[in-house]
Point group: C2
Chain length 161, copies 2
């Protein structure tokens, strides 16, 4: 060990190195979940953005394309295309908005509702299979670190603005 390198320096560097591998692990798990998602999408003949739209629709109920554009963080034009696809595949319909004749209400069909239910059930099932056996005390720490990290992230993003 070089003489300019104190034990504390070593510990600091190890800690930093570890932080990097922890981020890698978070991203790895996320990639695995995404791959599982992609499989579901292929089975259903859907695509990622369309599933995302259905997921949002399931949480919000029927809503305008403007709202969907904001929720998905894409342009209104883009929503037109996604909804076109979901109409063609029979998952949603465009309903007249009762109060505003400019707007349409994107509404799930029976098929769309079934898909959304499957999505929600699959999500819960995956979660319980992944985390159901983790002891409560460890799960608490895990969840707390996730929350702290997400909060820290938000702070960092504001600093950069």
């Amino acid at each position: 060990m070089a003489d300019w390198c104190t034990d504390n320096t070593v510990k600091y560097i190890q800690h930093m190195t570890h932080a990097a591998t922890v981020l890698d692990r978070v991203l790895h798990l996320s990639a695995l979940v995404s791959a599982d998602m992609a499989r579901f999408e292929k089975e259903q003949g859907l695509t990622g953005p369309r599933v995302h739209l259905l997921w949002v629709l399931g949480r919000s109920g029927p809503c305008t394309q403007q709202s969907l554009a904001q929720a998905l963080d894409v342009t209104p034009r883009n929503i037109t295309g996604l909804v076109d696809g979901l109409v063609a595949s029979g998952h949603v319909t465009r309903q007249a908005h009762p109060d505003d004749r400019r707007a349409t209400l994107v509404t799930p069909t029976a098929t769309g509702r079934r898909t959304i239910e499957g999505l929600v059930a699959g999500h819960a099932d995956l979660a319980s299979r992944l985390f159901g056996d983790v002891p409560d005390d460890r799960l608490e720490v895990f969840a707390a670190v996730l929350d702290e990290t997400a909060a820290r992230f938000a702070t960092l993003m504001e600093e950069d603005r």
Copy 2:
């Protein structure tokens, strides 16, 4: 509380519910990191897939398009397009393979190397800012749960095959 619902049942349900919110948190953090990535890409005039290719290239050194296709899990045709874009933007060049005249070695330019260095440095910086202040004992639990979960995931995937 309904009389058919024992305390243990309640605890079980709470645990399962918690598992679902934990998965949501993992995905949320992952989405935040992705958004940060997207910002970097826009700054550099790059796209997600192209940055991914550069990242892999940085870890592997110059390599064939076949290798890149496997590493990125896309078709060789797709790599042609990505490399075309990165050649046009001056990040990589196609070099003749010394032993196989069919193959090309995708090689970073000086600009490409700078981008890759920025990528690596940014990744390490983000990791240390996100996890650097988490106490070692909590970080250990966090990392261990991530590893266990990823391993459990792999098992689940094999079962489904």
